[in-house]
């Protein structure tokens, strides 16, 4: 086959060594290449039902592009704490049906987009988190419930929302960044 005769170019690894080290410490840091992590703290102080919101693309180029937000469960969310197993994940039907259609109205921050029920019967409501339109639900969660708890920060994301606010810096004003989040929730 022709491709066998093509030789790979030599790559100088020096520019990438630093990043490689960062990755070795925490496999999930690769996400920083593509997203800026924000966290949404639940205003109700009794619970720790927090969410992460990944804003794509990452900070460097987000000045120029309309950003999309990926919503998912943050490390302190109860669903990731105890051993409650997920029984069902139901995406809001009305939103599902009007997705990507012209008449879709933007959702408020507190609007429920998904309901997760555990085997013990407890229901958790997932809020939109950003004022905007839902572009896509993670349909893999429809069948693969384990994904939500096993890989909550990557493949187990819940939804992708296009923020109404054009300016990516302002769209997530109501959220806090990773550092602040760790302080507030007193994590490592």
């Amino acid at each position: 086959m022709n491709s066998k005769s093509l030789i790979n170019p030599n790559y100088d690894l020096n520019p990438y060594k630093k990043i490689g080290e960062k990755y070795e410490n925490d496999s999930l840091t690769y996400l920083e290449q593509y997203y800026t992590k924000y966290f949404l703290i639940d205003s109700n102080e009794n619970t720790t039902e927090d969410f992460y919101i990944y804003q794509a693309p990452n900070k460097l180029s987000s000045f120029y592009f309309l950003s999309l937000c990926v919503i998912g469960l943050s490390p302190t969310h109860p669903l990731l704490q105890s051993s409650q197993k997920v029984k069902s994940i139901k995406f809001n039907e009305k939103i599902s049906q009007s997705m990507n259609k012209k008449k879709q109205i933007p959702l408020e921050i507190k609007r429920e987009i998904c309901v997760i029920t555990t085997e013990s019967g407890k229901k958790y409501s997932i809020k939109a988190g950003v004022v905007g339109w839902v572009i896509d639900f993670n349909m893999r969660l429809d069948r693969e419930y384990d994904l939500l708890q096993e890989k909550p920060f990557t493949e187990g994301y819940i939804a992708i929302i296009k923020p109404k606010q054009d300016d990516p810096k302002k769209a997530l004003n109501h959220c806090i960044d990773e550092k602040e989040y760790k302080d507030v929730r007193t994590l490592d």
Partner: protein
């Protein structure tokens, strides 16, 4: 081979036949043939008279005219030699083209400080008198009627034709070749957002500006067989492209001159881009490029980081796909989701080959179907591409650098 421009045709000569008609028409003695009116008053006077008549609804029948005629035919008969009446509006609109009518309007514009570019006055007929109906009515009218009120053949043209300088424009020509992109900071076409340039320069400008000089053209249009991100290099023989050169003042360059232009581009843009096989192409060849974007396979080389240490086992696991084809399902990547519709694309990976580098790094060479998102295959795009490299190796993977090694398209055509 230059076509004759339309103004180069011989000016149409009015034949001598018209003279015969002139004699019959304007003959005061003749009782046959065309009727004529003895009044040679100027159009305005005639018109004012007519309007008065119409307004007062006077009977126009007089002893000079015979038979039953449509009232409007009388109006037509009041023609002058110099200015035949308009058979559509009977010159009624002509009254607008007079100083009496226009002056108040012009004064109004001036006093309101309006700037008027053109002033059009027109009348649209009620639907019963549509163009179709008029055509149908005219077709029913016998030739003799037409001859009696019209000119057949048309009157001799008295005014000399005016000669405006023609606007000459050469039709577009096409020149094609392949480009190699060596820089990771050059986009394919100018990338400017909010007035700010995001990439150092672009492939189209690097080549196009020099072509602009050589062809002395108004503008150019750059088309390539697919595109790569600005941080992705294009290596190997390069990516096929063509330029549409608009209105070249020097449309015919020899292959030798094109070779000189190619050398100039390669010398001045040394570390950015290189081009090869720059040559003139025909319009028929253009579709090959579009086809190239949509159907042709591409070969890539990627520098990959994985969360496991690279061992011979891992390399072997990947190399089993050297001759084994597999399919991946890609949902629209999140980084393009804002401009493209959400959908699942099935893409074929024809071949994959891995080579170890130190530690967590390896290089991957892939040959894939057109339209495959390579970056997403490697990092998985949050699971939206399945299976992804991480799945095959049961770890996390990320792409450090990407290069296109080959675009499987023969170009320029022989």
């Amino acid at each position: 081979m230059l076509r004759k421009r339309y103004w180069e045709n011989d000016h149409v000569r009015i034949s001598d036949e018209t003279d015969i008609w002139k004699r019959i028409r304007y003959s005061e003695e003749s009782n046959e043939g065309v009727r004529d009116h003895k009044c040679y008053a100027t159009s305005e006077e005639v018109l004012l008279k007519l309007l008065n008549r119409i307004r007062l609804n006077e009977d126009m029948v007089s002893s000079d005219y015979q038979g039953e005629e449509h009232p409007s035919i009388n109006i037509l008969l009041c023609k002058t030699r110099e200015k035949p009446i308009c058979i559509a509006c009977f010159d009624l609109l002509y009254q607008a083209d007079t100083i009496e009518c226009l002056w108040p309007i012009i004064e109004g514009f001036n006093s309101h400080n309006f700037q008027v570019k053109t002033f059009n006055l027109s009348v649209s007929l009620p639907s019963g008198h549509s163009r179709q109906n008029i055509i149908a009515a005219l077709e029913k009218a016998p030739d003799s009627d037409f001859i009696s009120i019209g000119n057949c053949p048309p009157l001799e043209v008295k005014e000399r034709w005016k000669n405006h300088p023609p606007i000459l424009e050469h039709s577009a020509i096409y020149v094609g070749g392949n480009y190699i992109k060596l820089s990771r900071n050059v986009s394919q076409s100018p990338w400017i957002i909010n007035g700010e340039r995001l990439a150092e320069t672009s492939v189209s400008e690097c080549i196009g500006e020099i072509l602009r000089e050589k062809f002395k053209c108004d503008d150019y249009n750059f088309v390539a067989a697919g595109r790569e991100d600005s941080n992705v290099r294009m290596l190997g023989n390069g990516r096929p492209f063509y330029f549409e050169i608009m209105n070249p003042r020097r449309p015919f360059l020899s292959q030798q001159e094109l070779d000189v232009a190619q050398q100039e581009i390669n010398d001045t843009k040394k570390d950015l881009i290189q081009i090869n096989q720059l040559t003139m192409i025909t319009e028929k060849d253009l579709s090959i490029i579009k086809e190239g974007e949509e159907t042709k396979r591409k070969t890539y080389s990627a520098l990959v980081w994985i969360s496991k240490i690279v061992t011979p086992d891992i390399i072997d696991k990947l190399n089993q796909y050297q001759d084994k084809v597999f399919t991946i399902e890609q949902q629209t990547p999140i980084r393009v989701l804002q401009r493209r519709a959400q959908m699942v694309r099935s893409k074929i990976i024809y071949s994959m080959k891995a080579e170890p580098l130190e530690n967590h790094f390896l290089t991957l060479q892939l040959r894939t179907e057109a339209g495959t998102y390579i970056k997403e295959f490697i990092h998985g795009d949050l699971g939206r591409t399945k299976p992804n490299l991480g799945d095959l190796l049961d770890c996390y993977a990320d792409i450090m650098a990407l290069d296109v090694l080959e675009v499987d398209l023969e170009w320029p055509p022989k």
